[in-house]
């Protein structure tokens, strides 16, 4: 099957696929807004941060470290380390993102673990329209949640008491399992999980997930191997 014949999703399809996550993302947006407001960051700064940063883990890290008096450098370092997983994720989606550099920049800002995961076709490629639809829905959810948290306080209770923090790994597992069809992907997943778990006690938050990308080396194909495979009649 050539690239053009692959099934392509729609923007609305991406919105639908991300809906189960939108509630959880909005709830964490609320808790981010509440935390930022209660730490004395005012209303405007958390709202601007959600609009521009749009990655919850980095935002929580920055706000909680600053709030605890950890200093600007430590706050920014932790937040950027957490965001660095988007470097390999961005490279993996780059071939699918067309258009001008400004358009590609705009689309790339809709990257979130969740939008990337639901847009993944399972063969190493992503569906651009699904990514955009899911990314937009999650972006709006994150902003509405932040606004509600900043202005209304915790309207929906503690996301952790509602178990919503377990929704994200459940989604990732559901998207991971169908990909474990061959030895390469199983090896990659095992290495990824093992590296991440073994680094949690020692490394700063964010580092275990970045280091886990070494698991993708299981997909390395040397030219020699490929040629020998092709030469078999």
């Amino acid at each position: 099957m050539t690239k053009d014949e692959r099934s392509t999703g729609t923007v609305m399809g991406g919105v639908r696929k991300s809906l189960p996550l939108c509630l959880a993302v909005a709830a964490f947006g609320v808790s981010f807004g509440v935390l930022a407001e209660s730490e004395g960051f005012g209303k405007l700064a958390p709202i601007v941060m959600s609009l521009t940063t749009f990655t919850g883990a980095s935002q929580f890290a920055a706000i909680s470290i600053l709030g605890a008096g950890g200093g600007l450098g430590a706050a920014v370092l932790a937040a950027v380390l957490l965001a660095m997983r988007y470097l390999p994720i961005g490279i993996s989606v780059a071939p699918e993102l067309h258009g001008s550099a400004i358009s590609r920049f705009a689309q790339s800002q809709l990257l979130l673990d969740e939008s990337w995961a639901v847009a993944n076709r399972g063969d190493g490629t992503i569906d651009r329209t699904t990514l955009v639809g899911a990314g937009l829905a999650l972006y709006v959810s994150w902003q509405l949640g932040t606004l509600a948290g900043v202005f209304g306080g915790s309207l929906i209770g503690d996301p952790q008491a509602l178990g919503l923090d377990a929704a994200f790994p459940a989604l990732f597992l559901a998207l991971l399992v169908p990909q474990l069809r061959n030895r390469r992907t199983r090896t990659a997943a095992l290495i990824g999980a093992a590296v991440a778990l073994s680094l949690i006690p020692f490394a700063r938050p964010g580092v275990p997930v970045i280091a886990a990308t070494v698991g993708c080396l299981a997909g390395w194909r040397s030219r020699g191997v490929d040629h020998s495979v092709e030469s078999i009649p």
Partner: protein, 101 residues
């Protein structure tokens, strides 16, 4: 300018650059043949790492808590071929119940 606004700007720029670097530099072009193989295994490696850190990650320690039960519920749902929405809800409900217990 306060540290709060410095953090908003620096973290915002950092996150934007991380997300945009690949798409802006490479955008629309095919990756080299060798790298394509790596991209196919990037998803399982990263997804497995996200599951591991979000379920067993604590403050510089590995922890076994209500989230593990939620993940187990998700695994049962996946094995039973339940829709993703049900899998996600099952994980949240089981985790919430375990915390309330």
């Amino acid at each position: 300018m306060s540290d709060v606004w410095r953090a908003v700007i620096l973290v915002g720029v950092g996150a934007m650059v991380c997300k945009a670097a690949g798409p802006v530099v490479i955008g629309g072009r095919q990756l080299p043949e060798r790298v394509q193989g790596l991209v196919g295994t990037l998803a399982p490696a990263l997804l497995a790492a996200l599951v591991a850190t979000q379920v067993f990650g604590g403050d510089h320690e590995l922890v076994l808590d209500a989230r593990a039960l939620g993940l187990a519920a998700a695994a049962v749902g996946i094995a039973a071929r339940a829709p993703i929405l049900m899998v996600v809800i099952a994980a949240a409900v089981v985790t919430a119940l375990a915390r309330a217990a």
